[in-house]
Amino acid sequence: MPLSEYLLRLGDDRLILGHRLSEWCGHGPILEEDIALANMALDLVGQANLFLELAGKAEGQGKSADSLAYFREAIEFRNALIVELPRGDFAFTTARQFLVSVFEMLHLEKLQSSAHSDLAGIAAKAFKETRYHARHSADWMLKLGDGTADSHTRVQNAVNELWRFTGELFEVDDVERDLVTEGIATDRSALREPWRSEVTRVLHAATLTVPDDGFMQRGGREGRHTEHLGLLLAEMQIVARSFPGAEW
């Protein structure tokens, strides 16, 4: 059970973030960025598919990645809250992508040496993809932070608003503690300092301020979500639920 639970977390973080990014398709600020956002969404949904497929196998009840994605309720999702927040403006989407991608890059880099060989292989592939996401969103942090007064204010506000959702990314609970001991999972708490130093370096170069740590929101890993997840799922799941078993 802990393994399938862990894999659900890995899969759900990517599925929900990928869906949020896909909402930009056709609405990007410039054509190149529209394409970039859709490409990152595709990578994330692809990674989610691989992790959820493994989660289904680990659970052993014959569930496919599709059935996990489309036929679970909000309380059964295990993603961190930060990925389900509405996409906001381009500054908000960029700031979230940056904060999460830097975390995932550090996380996946370690997960490549997991004792679980399929998990390690998927992580190795996802790591390389995520490096591009982190670099790309860091470039935009520099452009927006060190850009106009308006872009600076918007991206600083976005970082301030998102900060209280970052603590959850580093939480280790009983589910993960044993898997860490077995060499299967990565110890997220050990990533906090490297993350902070990467994020600080980029924010400072972007003339932005690193917020102080205060109260941190949590609950996604236990299925306690914001109201935004339900709305997202309604849209994401409606076709599969209206036409069960349909293929195209």
Binding site: E33, M105, G121, A124
Partner: protein, 164 residues
């Protein structure tokens, strides 16, 4: 037992639907192929996690093998080692260039700095005119594996198969 040569030849004729000058063997997607009691087992590894061409590729591999006489085909997805553009041969890179896509330059070796702020841009040669006066417009292009570049020499955009 290693699969017989005609099966390898059949799979070698399966092209990437997005980049139809490279076969699935040129790309390094097919890792192994063997015969086990009448069944042809093909080990494939995905390129990008979300690459939509993978499904088509698997379907095309099965079809090609069945046409070549394979009684039963099983496509097995493997994840280790993770796919890299370093597996694309020099000859295949030249075909990419001739097709109008700049091939991956250098190796996909991991940089020491995770997010380089002062990014050294590799000079990517324009596949159309050979000019080195080019610049990156976006790291993401028409497919996950390509970036968009612009050539100041011939004033044309082009795609770059990025190292992974």
């Amino acid at each position: 037992m290693r699969a017989r040569e005609e099966y390898w030849a059949a799979v070698g004729a399966v092209l990437d639907p997005e980049v139809p000058v490279l076969s699935v063997i040129d790309l390094g997607i097919v890792r192994d192929m063997r015969e086990e009691r009448g069944t042809v087992v093909v080990d494939v590894t995905p390129t990008y996690s979300g690459c939509p061409a993978m499904q088509t590729i698997e379907h095309d591999i099965v079809e090609a093998l069945e046409k070549a006489g394979a009684p039963r085909v099983v496509v097995n997805t493997i994840f280790q080692p993770a796919w890299t553009t370093d597996w694309i041969s020099a000859d295949a890179k030249e075909r990419l260039r001739a097709y109008g896509i700049a091939p991956p330059s250098g190796t996909a070796a991991v940089a020491t700095e995770l997010i380089p702020l002062q990014r050294r841009q590799d000079i990517i040669t324009c596949p159309h005119c050979g000019s080195r006066n080019t610049e990156r417009r976006s790291e993401f292009g028409s497919t996950a594996c390509k970036a968009i570049y612009y050539c100041a020499g011939c004033a044309e955009p082009f795609e770059y198969f990025k190292p992974l």
